[in-house]
Each structure stands twice: as C-alpha cells, then as structure tokens.
C-alpha cells in the first residue's frame, strides 16, 4: 500500500515571499519526506506576494503550481483547503479572517495580530467559521522543546519556581545585514522585539510553565533610523513575569546588540530539577538536579520527532521545525490528531498577545500589569 493510496493531499496557498515565506515553503515541501505514511501531504497550489520576480523564483524552487499577487482571489479558490499566512504582521488579520470566512483552515505566523485587540478579531473569525486554526509558534516543534514538555509532564522538575528567557540579536547593529523596514514601524509590525522575539518565549513559557498572571517591564528604542525608516517600536525589552503556578521569572529580548548573533534560550527551575534550552544547540536539552547537569542529545529513538529523521546523534537544523509544524497542522486537517495541545491555536496566539500587550503597558506605566 503506497503513500498515494492512504495519504490525503491537501491544497495549500501561501501568503508571503520573504524570510517566513521561504521558511514555510521549504517546510511544506519537506513534509512528504518526513516518514513513510504521513496522514497528509500538501499540494502546493499557489504562492501569493507582491513581487512577481520573487514569486517566480519560489515557484521554481519549491514547486508551487502557480503564483498570485492577489490574496483575495486565493481565499475563494476551491482548490485551496489550507491558507498559510507568512506575510508581514499588518497583513495577518484581514487575509486570514477572509480565508476563514471562506471556509479555509488557517495557519498564521506569529504574532497573529499587531496587538491583542486585532488578534481577538482573528480568533472570533475562526471560531465563527468553525475552521481549524494554528499560530505558527515553531519552537514547540523543536525536538528539545517538545522533550522538555515531556520531562515536565512526568514530574522531573517538580513544581516550577523560576523561569528565564533571553532572545538577543545583533542584526540591527551589523552593517550590511539589512533589517526589514516593516518590522521597525508600529503601523506595520504592531510592536518591535516584543511581538517579534519575546512572543516566541511567551508561548514557550505558556507551553511549559502555564499561564501568566502579571508582568512588569521596561523598553528602549536605540534607533533612530535603520533600514531607511524612523524606528518607532522598541528595540529592547526586559520584563519580570509571574505565573499562575506561583513561579516568577525574567524575560528579555533585543536586536541591536553587536555582541550577539542570535541567542534564544529558555530555562525553568523547579522544586526538583531544572531544564535549559538554547536554540544554538537545537538538538540538545539540559536537565539538572542535585546530582549534576545532564546534556541530552534529543536524537535517540525515544525522543520527539526522531522517528522522522536520522540515527541517533545526527541533528536537525532550525528550519526543520517548520516541516514538523506544517506536518502537524496538515495532520490535524486530515483528522489524525488535534491541533492542541502541541500546536498553538489562535486562542494561544491571543493569550500570548495579551501578555505582550501587558509588558508594553507595564513599560509605559511603570506598574505591574495583571493579565
């Protein structure tokens, strides 16, 4: 019995032809290579963007059947079953809502909306439409993060007590590594490093530690001008956080630090032990207790996603998390499993947006802000 007979082929349209458009295209293209009998594989129907030359290149490279510069046409297309939104933030809400209303299952890059209010409209739309929905928090699909969840669920770290995360980039400070202008403007991005970077760790924290209850924070804009625009969003954020479990923590993000390439690290200390993750070693998780600090290569047969890849010790890259993520959503569409809890739903996207808004509000007011 071949894959052709048992695997559903699901028509997908993608909005976005830049960094995330490439990451999703490559992820979609690679879904079929992951295992013998996937629940579903995508049919790459159409890619949509504004730059025809870029779209032509992506059609050639990733095998998109056709290109489009009009997302409105795509959301009505009966060949499309899943609408994947990897466009810039200000193009998340309207096309995604329209697709949902047209009955498409939708997956959208983070942050969903530019703030919690816009995100709430997106959640309402998908719930009204009754379609499946997922927010593309790809960290949940890194083997080490999924394995951290397993360790925590089986009690290895006990009750969470202290959390810390940092997401630090230098790209805004290195000449020649042009930042994208839309990310530097409130109108197009909603926020700066809070929505772009901190949001990833807020979602990881919710996935591993649980709900936030209060935050405090401070921000800085180092700007003033980069990528040809006046920066009007925050370039740096620091925050204290409190969780329903009683745990407390620190979070921070920045993107104008030349001494940082890309550090994205999360750690949780509990009453019995600790787990630590850094995306620079995406195939490793560190677990520590009173006996010592153990680095685990999350590539053994018993580890998450390992069955989709190579023998033990042969790690995957950051970009491969997108294949896991898109396979997950397509599998949910095919009925093989639910989006939640391992995929982030639009409700998760909203909860994250509420925390992000609260951090920004706290930075402005100087007061601890309840979620």
């Amino acid at each position: 019995m071949s894959q052709a007979e048992t695997t559903r082929r699901i028509g997908v349209a993608l909005l976005g032809s830049s960094f995330m458009g490439r990451a999703h295209s490559r992820g979609l293209d690679a879904v079929r290579t992951l295992e013998d009998h996937p629940a579903a594989v995508p049919a790459l129907r159409a890619i949509c963007g504004r730059d025809q030359k870029k779209l032509d290149g992506m059609r050639d490279r990733y095998g998109w059947e056709r290109t489009s510069t009009d997302w409105r046409a795509l959301v009505e297309d009966p060949e499309i079953e899943v609408f994947d939104n990897a466009a810039s933030n200000h193009l998340h809400a309207e096309p995604t809502i329209a697709a949902a209303r047209a009955g498409k299952h939708v997956i959208c890059e983070k942050p969903l909306g530019r703030d919690a209010a816009e995100t709430r409209k997106m959640l309402e739309a998908v719930e009204t439409a009754g379609v499946l929905h997922m927010c593309a928090f790809n960290y949940r699909f890194l083997p080490a993060i999924r394995f951290a969840r397993e360790l925590i669920e089986r009690g290895d770290i006990g009750a969470p007590r202290q959390f810390r995360s940092r997401f630090l980039l230098g790209s805004g400070a290195v000449p020649g590594e042009a930042e994208t202008a839309w990310r530097l403007r409130r109108e197009t991005a909603g926020s700066g490093v809070v929505g772009d970077l901190l949001a990833h760790h807020v979602d990881v924290a919710r996935y591993l530690v649980g709900e936030f209850t209060a935050v405090g924070g401070a921000t800085r804009t180092w700007g003033p001008q980069r990528a040809g625009v006046e920066v009007d969003v925050e370039d740096a954020v620091v925050a204290t956080v409190e969780f329903a479990s009683g745990a407390i923590g620190t979070m921070e993000a920045a993107r104008v630090l030349p001494g940082q390439v890309l550090e994205s690290a999360v750690a949780i200390d509990g009453s019995e032990g600790s787990v630590t993750f850094d995306v620079r070693s995406p195939n490793e998780l560190t677990f520590a207790d009173a006996r010592g600090s153990t680095t685990i290569s999350v590539t053994a047969p018993e580890h998450p996603f390992a069955e989709l890849w190579w023998p033990r010790g042969h790690g995957i890259g950051w970009g491969d998390s997108f294949s896991h993520e898109l396979r997950h959503f397509l599998g949910a569409v095919a009925g093989a499993w639910e989006v939640a809890p391992h995929g982030a739903t639009f409700l998760d996207g909203l909860r994250c947006a509420e925390v992000c808004d609260a951090v920004l509000a706290a930075a402005t007011s100087g007061h601890r802000t309840e979620i």
Copy 2:
C-alpha cells in the same frame, strides 16, 4: 632589602568565625604570599566570636595570636589598626560603628546594614571618624571582573545597553547542606537572597555599568521551615533594572533550586560588544562582537592580579579573591593607593543597599521604584 624592612605590618582583628570568618582568615593569612614587596601585610592579632572551640581551631589554622568572645574589648585595643567584620548581618552595624569611633579602619562584609537606613548610619560613622572603610564585595577582586572593567573603560563594548545577572543556588533544597538559620530571618539578615546574593551583582553592575535609576521586581518565599526556623525572608527575586546610562536589564537570585549548584553570572551588552562572566569559570572572561565570541583566559601577564600568581593558564579559585581584597584594603591603609574606585567604600555599600531596598519595595508595591 627584605620585605621586613619595607612592608608595613598592620594589626587586624576579625569578627566572625563561620563561612565568611574562615574566608577572611584564609585571605588575610595569604596576603603575604602574594608578591615580593607588598605595601602591607596583616598581623593577625585577634579573632572574635561566640564559640570558643571554633575560635581555638581558627587560631591554630590561621595563626591568630589570640581569641576573644567580646568584640567591645577589641575595638579599643591599641594593637588593632584594622577591624574586619565578617559576622552575620545583624552584627555589622554596631561593632563596625564602635570600631570606627575608636579610630580603627574598617572593612565589613556585605550587606553592610540590614537595610539602607542602617547602612547610612555606618557610612556616617566612618565619615565622622575619618577612618578608611571598605565594603567586602569580593567580586571586584576576581581577575575577570577587574579585566571587564578595563575592557569597558577603554571602550571595547561601547555604550552599555543591556545587563543581565543571575545568582542561583540549590543549597536550600538539598538535604544535608544546612543553611544558616540567621540568613532565613529578617531580624538577623535584613533580607533574604536580595542582600545575600543580588547585592553582589548590584555592586558589580555599579562597578561596570554605573548608577541605577529605577527597578521593578517580584519575590517569592518557598520556605516555610528550614534550618529549624520559619523563613520570613525572600528565597527568590526577579527584577528589571534601569541605569543612568540608559541601559536596561534583568537580575535574579534564588537559593532553593535543586537543579542549580551555584551559578553566578553577569553579562553586559553594549553598542560595540558584550562581556560575559560566570563565577564557575573565575579565570575566564568572554568578549563578543560581530566577529565572534572570544573566551579569554585572564591569566596572562598583562591581566589583573596575574603578577601575584602563576604562569599563564594556571587559574586561581574563588577564595583567592579574598586575598586580593584584603591586600587592597591593607595597601590603602599603608598609603599605597586609594580604596576607591576598585574597592567598594561604605558609600558604595549604601548605594547598593538603596537599590536592594528599592527592589523589595517594588516587589511589594508592584510599581517601578526610583532610586
């Protein structure tokens, strides 16, 4: 010309016979071994505490000339030129003030007082008495921290932008590693991890980044009972911090985390580069810029304190910072150099106490607190 002819011998009395009493005794004893022609070496006149058996042991081990259980007698002793207070926090103010009034130069363990108010009295006393004074922040005397200051002063990291520190212990969570009861009670300790651990990093931050302007924070007490007492101080703290330079940061400390042995790390990202330090590698400093992240063995001839020790690559231990620190104060008493800027004065101790108090106030009020 031998050491005997050119080196001043300075009579020292020490108050304290526990962890810090041992660290100071060993540090004092080792000062004379550090180099050929020290400005001053201590004469270990008297050690003072409550437990005669412990005092006898310390006399034998460190060569104290005599023991005492009455600090009041010592502060009047004409043989004593320097009074070194390594007792528990509630015994910092009164004996130190009495010693200063008696004209002794004073060095006192951190935190000076149990809060800023008590610390201010100590500062007033030494200023009134006109004696030399130093707060025993030993991190300033680790080669890597001193070298970080050199790098920052010569502009290698540019303007500071982001700061982070964490001081994480598991001792309160590991059966058999008894905590000391006085550290767990507000009356004797003043505060919990804020004064005990965070204070170290507050001082390092002031030494490397400059003055604080505002803080936010949250605390937790995981207690309830340890070391035979009801814990009424905080076991964990998280904070956001802001500096006069415009930099922002996160700080945290904890001591009931079984997954942590002792991590004490500080990092500063600037507009040109970053420096990172972790006391687990006390002979290393990491400097990073857009070219990469460079681990420097701070043991070469050109590095701070290296002339006092071994050839390049042969590192020293945490405890050796106490020799550096006490040599520094004795050298100041002998007129070889000033206490500031490399030694922390009582004014530095007060500034640190004000930041610590503000963190605790912010944790209670939920409001950003100005310093």
Copy 3:
C-alpha cells in the same frame, strides 16, 4: 527569466535505500530549494535497491520517478546522466565502474572501495571513461569545514603543527539501536570504524592540512556478536599521523562506547593559531590565537553556503550538507565549476583509502607505516 529556462535538469539514478540512500534522496530533492538560479537541478529518475517496499516508500517521499531492483539496467539507461552510489561498501565498486563505463558521471559514498586496491580500480575506470567523479565526503560541505579551509588558506593559523580528530559513537553499545550487519563484516564493509568513521577525518585532514606521510596505530574489536553476526572488523582505532608539512597528530574512532552519542571533532594547531570543529555544533568554528578562543557562528552573509539559507544565526543541520554536496557535483556536471578542490574526487578517495590501509597495517605490524 525563470529557473526553468537557465537551469540544467540532470537525470540521476540512486543506488541505495538505507541510511545513506535516504540522506542522498533528501539531499537531491532539496538541491532545487537552495537558491534562485542554480546551475543544475536533478531529475530524480530512478532509485534502485533490493526491498521493493522500501523503494515504494522512497518514491513517494522523495519523488523518484520509478524504482528498480536491478542496477545493471539503470547504468545503461540513456535518461540517466549521473549515477549516485549510496549502497553498502561491497556494492560500491562493480556498479560504479559499470556506470562509468556506460558514460555516466559518478558520485559514490565513502569509502569508495573496501580497500585501496579496489578503490584504485574505481579510479582507473572513471579516468579511462573520462567521466566526472566525486567521493561523497560530506564534511567538506559543512559550512564550518569550508570556512576552516578559508582561514587556513589566508594564513590565519600559520604552518600546521598538530592535528587531532576523534569520531566516537555509542550505537554499538546501546540496545535497540541496531547496527547494520554488513558494517560488521570484513567481506561486506572492508573495514570497521576505519573506513566508516576515520575515513571522514582522513579526508578532512587532507583537505585542511595536506598529505599524510606516515601513520602508526592500534585497533580493538569489542564484538563479539552484534546485529546477528560475528564482528570481524575493528570497533575501535587509535593512530598517530605525520604530514608532509611536518605536522603530527592523533586520530581515533570507535562505535561501542555508551558514553558517547556522536562526537566528531577535528582540531588543527598552527604556528599562528588554531581551529577547532565539532559536528555537534555544525554551524560553529572556533579560532584561537594568543588573544583568546573565538567561537564564530558560520552563518553570516560572508560565510560559505550562507547565501543558500537563512539570515545570520539560523543554523542548518547535518543532513543539509548532502544538498550542498550534490548541488556541487551537479553544478560540475553542468560546467559551472570543477569538482576539485572543494569536492573530493576518486583520487582523493584513493589517497584516503591508502591512509586507512596504512593505519590497519600499522596496527597489525606495530611499525610506523609510510604512505
């Protein structure tokens, strides 16, 4: 002008449906996704193996147009321009030689033959046939290894003085991670860890340091029975090596060490500096000189292969080296560049086999063996 108009499509047949068959399939499939205007992309004409069920699965996953269980038919197929041999070692020589004689360009997994003698026949065949040939040493296509070559060529480490490598696995010692039986028998594998693991580092050493002149060595077989067969090849090897440049070094490999997951590390110390690489951090290279040890994230725009991937800091995985490798060979077939020096030719494969044979001979004789 789209990819379709300017990119050559080159018909490829693949022999092999196990670990390396999968790695090559995925690598071939991903070549087209690497950049806008590749010199050539593969047309995946046929995959050949013995197990029809596995072949069916691979056709579905990687898009092979057809399957075959008879490699003899494939090497005559006019649609096939490149023959890619990823079969087990005893199936390297005969099919590859036949393909070359039929005028196919050939790429073959390492080790080419089971010993130098068999490898020499393969080299003679491709030279006689006048076809392009490449030995699939994929380490040359990891960004950090290519970048190490750049650093060395521009003189950063000076003259090489000392080399070390270790390739250490635990798979033979972990129940449930079945080794492949053919790798454990001399008849099918030629040798054990020497051809399987050490050969990778021999090639890297030749690529970065230059030719070997002499070796010494010792081996062990920990066997006795694994994967259902009597192990008659070496499970562990240690060697001393000498280079034409005057440098000396140590090398070792093993696969029955439960404390090792997969460590594959190479280091070269020169008269001016050192470089170090470990495949567990495939996106990093460490360069050290008297100023310190600098970890470089080999993901910036100026680094090898970076233009084919993501923005700085987003690393790739081990498996992605196969896309680089196969893109390189296809590009050479299309005339865009030469196979050498960055790709290993069959001559490189022979030189490597001679070193491997010499290590085994030295282990038996106890004498330093000249190459």
Copy 4:
C-alpha cells in the same frame, strides 16, 4: 583540645625557588589552614636555592625560617624530617638520594629522574634507606581526578576501552612569556614535553586505567632557539597507547602552539560510561552514559577534599592541589595513612618514566614499544 596538642609538626626543607618552589612553598604554608585537626603540619625550616635575593623574598612571603644555598648541608640537618625537592630535573636525583640516605622522608617533583635509569636509582635509594617517598603528581590531588577514581572503582564506567589525553600550551610561542632555559635542554631536563607534560597524564592514566603495555609515537622540535638556548628536546609529542586492561588510547602534548593557553584534558570511555576532565574546570567532572553527559560540580560534601574547603559550588584553584598533596605526604609521615594508592610513590614515578622513555624510543624507531 587544640591542634597544637594533637597535630605533629614536621620539619621540612625545600629545594627550589622558581615556579615549583613557589607552588610547594604556598602549598606547605596552606596545609595548616585546611581543617580543624590535621594529622600533621609542616614546620618550614629551610628553603634552598642559588639566588639569595629570591630566597629572601620567599622567606618573607612563605615564612621559611632560614635560607640556604647548599642543599648538602640541609640533608644532614637533624631538624629536617622531610626533604621536598622542587628543583629543576637535573637536580632531582642527587639531592633526593642524599636526603634519603640521611634518613629523610622525600617528596620530589615529577619527573623524578631525567630518564628511567636515573629514576630507578632514586627508587633503589629510598627503598634501601627505608624512608617514605612520594612523586609529586599533583593531578591526583585535584578533587575531580580523585572523584573520577571513585566512580571508576565503583564500576560506573565499566571496563575501560578508550583513553585520550592532551596537554597543550602556547607559552613557547608567546613573546614575553619566557620559557625556562633548563627545560629546553636534554642535559638539564632529560626530555621536553614528554617529561614535563605527558608524564602528568601518564600518571593519571595509570591511576585511573592501570598499567601500560605498549606505545607508539612521534615527536617534533619546533625550536630552534628559545630562552637563549638551542632547543634539543621535543616540543611536541603524539602517541598511541595500550593498556593491560585491553584499552587503547591517544596521548599528546605540545608547548609551542599560540592558539592554546593551557589545555590539560583526560577522558576515559568504558563499556558502561565515560568520564572527562579538563584542568581549565578543575572543580568539574563529566560523566556520560547512554542517558546523557552529566557535568558534576565536585564541591558537594560527599566529594573528595570538599570537607577541607567551602560550601558547595565554591571551587578551588589549580594551586590548591599542592596543599592537598603535601598534606597527604605529611599525614603519611605522621602515620595517619599510607602514601599509596592515592599518592604516587617513587615506584609510580619509575613506571611513568618507563612509559615516557618508551614513547621517545618508539618515536625514534618507528616501532611499537612494549613497556
């Protein structure tokens, strides 16, 4: 009951006023500070060397009662019970033998003699004299090495299979870090990095893995002139080694590598797990098995030497191993324990010398050399 009543004071004379003379002086001076009731403490009777100014400085710093420039007088001195030889290699045999014949217990720096033949004479002398003897291999007195022995003895790594060590320095390549001339000449040093560096790891290997049975090797002299002399000893060595247990391994040492500060690392892989040590992290040992790689802070109450120091997490420095070592020998003289197995005897020194000689012989002959 004070230390004075129960602790033996043992008269010690030290030969050597350079690097090792300082390390032993400081180590002796610090023995009394290590614990409440030591079995013995040294009385620092006399230090002997050639440079009176240096001797005066050492008397002042370490408290030597008197200085001498004539070792022959010291070995007859009835006040001296222990003769500690920390002089350069060519001054090891004659004074140590004379001291033993005079009935002094002797401790001598490694390597004992300049070769095995000279070392054998030293062993015969101490055995004939019936005095206690110890070879100052200080690595055995680092907490992590002692703890590694505990782990191995209780079976945690199973049967040893593979060993590796490297001892890499840059001091010979860094202008201004003058090497000592006597170390660069065969007449005064016996050998180069083999006796100076490799010998340390040979002893550690014997302590942890057991006896050597055969070695192969190669050496290089990068010279030609350094420290004002023509270098006629090896600057670099690589070796393969075989043990009675069946384990094999690689060893190497070098001291003209500018990319190395001081790396001194040892690893043993066994049939059940692995241990790894690097002197750059002297308070840590790594143990690995199929579950992961665990870094252990060897500072908890249950760890070797921890009772002599600070609470968990507060590490010691390289130099503190000398206090442990000298305390061990003095304790043996006082009858508290035996020199062996934790201290290296002169027989251990001879066994080590035989291995070192065999490595040099193998490098010359090109043949595996049996021990």
